[in-house]
């Protein structure tokens, strides 16, 4: 049994625990709580609101409205690079915002260029393109959107496509010559994009797009990132990044912002995936806060009683 398994010292009561006053074995005590009860509580805290369909109202924050304005403020039919750098491991966190970006751009009839630096992100691109096929049948492949797919090389790919896209991308993801597609026939590089939308789960991702494309070539860019990746990227906002969505909370707010602008989208339940995920978030966060409070109360009580 390895050290990191739940069945180790964390389950055993501390040796310096004070014995019960009557000398008997101690009864229920948070200090001795099997951590699996906490796992179970957390599972229920997420599952019950999800099964009950608990949805809380969201109001878009200023940061989210900045991102919304960056997409909304473009003229209809503008060119947008959809750089989606995430894989199935983080789709739970990023898929709602990725889908919201696609729908928002489609509402504005923007021309979309899908690209990724992650090999496992190709199915993610296809999933987002399926939204266009299903909900926006007027979007024609090669005329309104194109799937450039993946190329290996991480930030090296950005370095190349920012000056000469066809040096790396002679074909789209299906092998079609880019010179045969009306959308890409005259495309030289991504400097002609009106906006870069990057959905990033790590490296290479938002940081690299800022470093190699947005900052040196002054291309407007917004990003949607995981919770883990949010804080290190905040210093780029608002000059190097016009706005940034952090984790599922911002995704839900962005969905709400899109729904407020385009209310007819509410008829489609898929447009509210992020909003639905905020119910379990709230209950789970309440549980964590409660556990932190209980843990601290026990800690300070023990300290007052002189238990080390």
């Amino acid at each position: 049994m390895s050290d990191i398994t739940p069945r180790d010292s964390a389950h055993d009561p501390p040796s310096d625990m004070p014995p019960a006053e009557d000398g008997s074995e101690t009864g229920f005590d948070f200090r001795n709580l099997d951590r699996r009860w906490i796992f179970l509580a957390m599972g229920l805290a997420v599952a019950i609101p999800m099964l009950m369909g608990v949805v809380f109202p969201e109001e878009p924050s200023e940061e989210v409205l900045d991102v919304f304005a960056a997409v909304e403020g473009l003229e209809d039919g503008s060119s947008v690079l959809m750089a989606y750098d995430y894989d199935p491991a983080s789709k739970g966190e990023l898929e709602p915002m990725a889908a919201a970006f696609v729908r928002h751009c489609a509402q504005k009839k923007h021309k979309l260029y899908f690209i990724t630096l992650w090999p496992a992100a190709v199915p993610m691109l296809q999933k987002n393109i399926a939204i266009l096929n299903r909900e926006y049948p007027e979007y024609t492949y090669g005329e309104d959107y194109v799937n450039l797919g993946f190329r290996p090389g991480s930030e090296g790919v950005i370095k190349v496509v920012v000056t000469d896209l066809k040096k790396l991308y002679a074909n789209d993801v299906d092998g079609t010559d880019l010179n045969e597609l009306p959308l890409t026939r005259n495309l030289k590089n991504i400097q002609s994009m009106d906006l870069i939308i990057n959905v990033s789960a790590g490296t290479p991702g938002a940081k690299e797009w800022v470093q190699y494309a947005a900052t040196p070539f002054d291309i407007k860019m917004v990003a949607g990132v995981t919770g883990v990746g949010y804080t290190p990227l905040v210093p780029y906002v608002p000059k190097q990044l016009a706005g940034m969505l952090g984790a599922i909370k911002a995704a839900a707010e962005y969905e709400e912002a899109v729904l407020l602008e385009y209310p007819h989208l509410r008829e489609n339940p898929s447009t509210q995936e992020g909003l639905r995920k905020m119910g379990p978030q709230l209950v789970a966060h309440m549980l964590i806060i409660g556990l932190i409070v209980v843990g601290n109360v026990i800690f300070f009580t023990d300290r007052k009683r002189g238990v080390s």
Binding site: P6, N32, L40, V46, G92, R151, Q211, T215
Partner: protein, 346 residues
């Protein structure tokens, strides 16, 4: 302790297992369907020609003419139209449960049961449960699922990397004619061999020399080149985006006001916090002076800023992790177990 643990798991197994058996026997869970759409090349070409014709009519109504590019595309389509007669293809895409029947309640003949996707669905569900079983403790199911994930991810990355990097990028540039004839029919006809790509080919071969029984040191040369080039590229990017630009981002007015709103208190406080935070954190990492007196006090403020940053980062991480478990539960409940989605199915 052991008794309580056993109780938890006995309860979970009884409820979960019973429910699973009931749903499986009932035939109302764990099935995947696909939609088959058959396309006809002649119809597809005709539609595209018709679309350009319609656009031409619109342009004419505005007193303008169709662009040369679109006229040329239409001509090309018309020329190819006779050659594609009889060509059909079927597009297979995932179908949701709600698509099993048409709007009038009749079974949709285009949506059919898919064995391969159903097996995939069950593997994903069992794999999810196997990974989650680590919460109980390290076990053989967890280890098996972990090994499968790592193996499949590595294989997938290798195959995709080989196809896009070696085949498309390297050989597609070096021997485009041969590639066009064999595996890359979509390569542009005008593309000629770019001999500069011999350099990465040679470097790659030198890198693989490491595996040879003799002369392994040769692989150090390409490695040195890659490290040097990467460091150079990154250095410039970091200097610009993370050093010069970040200094610029920190040069901001401490008192913010405009003609309409006058003094903007919130904005001003925000800017002051940013500037003070940056300076205090820099002082904390400045070890040439002992952290005493003013320097010590400022460094202590820096620690507070760092702690708040770490706290915010931890909070975001927790949110991210809950999103992940929420996504997995969503998969298990709705995609696998077919429970009704509140607000959608019920």
């Amino acid at each position: 302790m052991k008794r309580s643990s056993n109780l938890i798991w006995l309860l979970l197994l009884l409820v979960g297992g019973g429910f699973l058996i009931f749903r499986t026997v009932n035939g109302s869970m764990g099935r995947a369907y696909v939609r088959h759409e058959t396309f006809n090349a002649t119809d597809s070409f005709t539609k595209r020609i018709q679309k350009i014709d319609d656009e031409e009519q619109q342009e004419l109504a505005k007193g303008e003419t169709l662009s040369e590019e679109k006229a040329a595309a239409r001509g090309k389509l018309k020329n190819r139209l006779p050659t594609v007669a009889g060509i059909t293809w079927t597009k297979v895409s995932s179908a949701e449960r709600g698509e099993l029947t048409t709007k009038d309640g009749q079974p949709d003949p285009a949506v059919v049961f898919s064995w391969s996707r159903t097996i995939g669905l069950w593997i994903a569900a069992v794999g999810t449960l196997a990974i989650m079983s680590f919460l109980w403790g390290d076990n053989v199911f967890y280890k098996l699922a972990e090994a499968i994930v790592i193996g499949a991810s590595a294989a997938y990355a290798m195959v995709v990397g080989f196809w896009t990097g070696i085949i498309q990028n390297l050989f597609g540039k070096l021997i485009p004619a041969a590639m066009r004839e064999t595996v890359l029919p979509g390569l542009p006809g005008a593309q000629e061999a770019e001999l500069i790509y011999i350099v990465p080919l040679v470097l790659s071969v030198l890198m693989l020399w490491r595996l040879a029984p003799q002369g392994g040191w040769i692989s150090r040369w390409p490695l040195a080149f890659f490290i040097g080039a990467t460091a150079g590229i990154r250095l410039v990017a970091y200097l610009d985006a993370d050093f010069v630009q970040q200094i610029g981002n920190t040069i901001m007015p401490l008192i913010v006001s405009d003609n309409k709103q006058g003094l903007m208190v919130g904005h001003s406080i925000g800017n002051i916090i940013i500037v003070v935070g940056v300076l205090a954190c820099l002082v904390y990492f400045f070890f040439s002076f002992e952290h005493k007196g003013v320097v010590g006090g400022t460094a202590r403020v820096g620690i507070w800023f760092l702690m708040i940053t770490f706290g915010a980062g931890f909070g975001f991480t927790v949110m991210g992790r809950i999103s992940l478990i929420s996504d997995r539960f969503s998969f298990l409940f709705y995609d696998w177990l077919w429970l009704p989605k509140p607000g959608i199915d019920a």
